[in-house]
Amino acid sequence: MFAEKVIELIKEVDRNPDTIDQYNDEKIRQIIEEMHLLFKLNMNDANATTENRSLWTTVQVRHSALERNKRCILAYLYNRMKKIKTLRWEFGAVLPPDIRELLSDDEYQWFSKYSGNLALYMRSLGQDIGYSGIDLTENLKPPKSLFIEVLCVVDYGKLELEDGDVVMLKKNSRHYLPTSECQTLIRQGILKQIM
């Protein structure tokens, strides 16, 4: 049957909505190969339609299969792009190596461009009135208190606070920190809020 391989790709995206899988280079290559084969068969049959008019119908069937393959591959890419955007918002502009390697080189390039465009936009915010931009990845939840107690989950190192104090974030250490200054670290899974 036509365009079956490409459905495996689509199911891959559908299966794991909250994580991103390794880019499936090999399958994409195979699908594009299938498309070239269908296209070649169509070229040949299209030239033969003068002798056998009913071949034209066959050409149309293959054409539909070509369109279907195209649509599914683009949907695969597009849905990965949506996930890659989420990576930018959640991990930040620098991806951990194990996440980075799940993306193809082209996808990583797209990630960098997306990240750059976003940075440019965020820097432009409030520029007219002397701001140096606003980081929209912060202030994700309504504030409840100015300070919160946190537990450090990994050995992170030094964190310099706005008032100049330096805190040493070591695994299993507890801290009482300004909420605004540890939100990002909590999102990235480095700190955990203690309730």
Partner: protein, 220 residues
């Protein structure tokens, strides 16, 4: 303190301006990139070929011929059926899958809640919307509508129940998503009510990748 933001006033005035009517597409988005629509259109529907199809014999697994002959009936994916049907003249006639046929319509119209759509029609509504036009008596459309309206109380029940496995069981794929969304709403309300404060948490994808990594490590 006097702030000079002249444009502020203009902006307040904008609120009173009549905005020009925009031209908008009146239909739902085409869903070209929609994973759900792609999966729905992968479902097979019975079709009768109205023309010979040279070299397409493989579409019919029961036939050994190289060519597909006009008049034979084959189950093909919906995307192909839709495409062949839309040609002028149509290359196929599409028949209704059994869940949309009269015998099932009667059961559904009598008591839609008794039907296990998970088993009988994962994409009952979505597929139904595509095939409704092939129903000469146009009763499929009414059945879809009626079924959904009757079964809405199952969604209500599933969203309220703590025993999610049993109540979710007979639901179609899209009904499951709606019931799951509704029970998420209920859960986040209860969490809000019971807890003094909602803690800041690790981002979703970050947490899930951590989890997956841990699972992979444990498997080694």
């Amino acid at each position: 303190m006097v702030i000079n933001c002249q444009s502020l006033i203009q902006n307040l005035k904008i609120n009173n301006r009549i905005f020009p009517k925009q031209k908008q597409m009146s239909t739902e988005n085409s869903g070209y990139l929609s994973i759900t629509d792609i999966l729905v259109t992968t479902e097979k529907v019975p079709c009768k070929f109205l023309h010979d199809l040279p070299k397409m014999g493989f579409l019919d697994p029961s036939a050994a011929d190289v060519d597909l002959k006009a008049g034979c009936s084959v189950e093909i994916p919906l995307w192909l059926a839709e495409s062949l049907y839309s040609r002028r003249p149509p290359l196929v006639s599409v028949e209704l899958p059994k869940i949309y046929k009269e015998s099932y319509r009667e059961i559904l119209n009598a008591d839609a809640c008794a039907v296990d759509l998970h088993k009988l029609g994962q994409h009952f509504y979505e597929l139904g919307c595509y095939v409704a036009k092939h129903d000469i008596k146009s009763e499929v459309a009414a059945t879809l509508n009626n079924t959904y309206r009757q079964r809405f109380r199952m969604l209500l029940a599933a969203s309220m129940s703590s025993d999610s496995i049993n109540t979710m069981q007979p639901l179609s794929a899209s009904e499951r998503i709606q019931a799951a969304d509704a029970s998420n709403t209920e859960r986040s309300f209860l969490t809000w009510l019971q807890r003094g404060d909602t803690p800041l948490t690790t981002a979703n994808m970050v947490a899930n990748h951590r989890k997956r990594k841990r699972a992979e490590m444990e498997m080694l």
